[in-house]
Assembly symmetry: C2
């Protein structure tokens, strides 16, 4: 899978690319079938919603779940990012965000690179966000919203919001959002399970709460150019990874066939966790 | 303005009717220009959001604001409701809901008639909800969501939710919502300022939070058939009105021309309010 000139130009202008139905329903089922067991685990990698027990986000499943370990090496996802950066990439962050039916809470307006820069000392915004829909995303289940073109302004001033949701976030103030939206509007890509979005680390995004009876589970991961690896290990290793080994892709059929992959944190669940607090 | 047979049939089947751009932008401006001064008042009729100072809902403006007193007697709104009920109506409740940019919080899934029955002892579901858009409603500013056909099941079991938002609400449980949505889906009418929705007192509805930089202020009012007036005065009079006088409509141009209307609560702001607690 290679991006053509028009896609590369669109990415530069808008800050994102949308690939509806990039993965088949058979491939997605392999992934969704694992979610309940992952979310049921009591481990620091599961961050729950303020309102109760629903999982807001699960970290680093690619290190302890076989199907996600294969997804993390999928060429349909990794190759276009390598192409855009012109070098190999490593996995900086890997999340399965719940946005569960009825309980899924908002993610306030933010840029991801702000956090990577401030907390992790990542030198440049050369890490790509990837969203893969494990459920259909529609107008009612809290789709990801982007402000097109907002990535071109670099890192914007942000405030650390520790109270709105269960997960602290560097959020962008209302006046800035007003100006960015007046300039670029808002878009919310919607589509079937298996769709994928690539978006720039500086693209301003948010998502609203999910009041619908439909889960909106998505994999969000960040692929960082290897030369651009983080310089500080302030956040736990399951949030900001410290293994900068270039990803070696599996074949295109990897979700459906068996391939050997390492699962280094498979038994970590039962061990004392240094980083749990 | 009279409903035709097809509209009446649609209302019976779906539980709502949508009238895009029923009021002109000139008429709506008369109303929106009043909102900042109304929301600035410190009076019990203004209920603010949990998160801060933004107004979640303002009650009974038709009793102390001249443009809203005229809106409350507007034939384009009142006549179709009289037609559906076959008798005169009175104003049971009158709200200007903020759903303000960035701060507008959710309204959980609920039926209005559940509250009217339980708290106000309103005999039948013969009170009509009316929503009039003072701002454009789009997919990003928390549109009202309906489950079509859910009104046909009458009053559903509900639980009193006192914690989710700043306004207590009888809300419907998740299992019931799942079943209703499987049967009827979800719709969210969107359109320009000046659009109007009529919806049944038993129609299950909700709205999500507004993360966009666009206010989504709407007038929500309830017109009750006079013979069906409430029997108990448990809630404050500014929430559930106790004056059952049939509404006498003004002419169709009433928002743009001068007509004399009573404003009985105009000076109430400066008086001790028995019902404030």
């Amino acid at each position: 899978m290679q991006l053509n000139a028009s896609q590369r130009e669109q990415f530069d202008r808008e800050g994102y690319l949308f690939f509806p139905s990039l993965f088949t329903s058979g491939e997605i089922k392999i992934l969704t079938d694992e979610v309940p067991a992952l979310y049921a685990q009591r481990r620091p990698e599961n961050v729950r919603e303020k309102s109760g027990d629903a999982v807001r986000t699960n970290f680093a499943a690619h290190l302890y779940s076989y199907p996600y370990a294969k997804l993390a090496r999928h060429p349909r996802m990794v190759k276009p990012v390598e192409q855009l950066f012109g070098e190999p990439v490593y996995m900086h962050q890997f999340k399965i965000n719940g946005k569960m039916a009825f309980d899924g809470d908002v993610w306030q307006w933010h840029q991801d690179y702000g956090t990577w820069k401030n907390d992790d000392l990542m030198p440049e915004a050369r890490a790509m966000n990837v969203a893969i829909f494990l459920d259909e995303v529609n107008e009612f289940n809290g789709p990801l919203m982007f402000i097109p073109g907002s990535h071109t302004l670099g890192v914007l001033e942000a405030e650390h919001d520790l109270t709105t949701t269960s997960y602290p976030l560097w959020t962008i103030n209302h006046d800035t959002i007003r100006k960015l939206v007046a300039r670029g509007g808002i878009v919310a890509p919607k589509g079937p399970a298996g769709s994928m979005i690539l978006f720039h680390g500086c693209l301003v995004h948010a998502s609203t709460s999910n009041l619908s009876p439909w889960n909106r589970v998505s994999v969000y991961l960040s692929l960082c150019a290897v030369s651009n690896h983080i310089r500080r290990f302030k956040r736990p290793g399951y949030i900001a990874h410290r293994d900068f080994t270039p990803i070696e892709c599996l074949p295109d059929d990897c979700l459906l066939k068996h391939y050997d992959v390492a699962l280094p944190w498979k038994d970590r669940f039962n061990e004392p966790l240094r980083e749990a607090s």
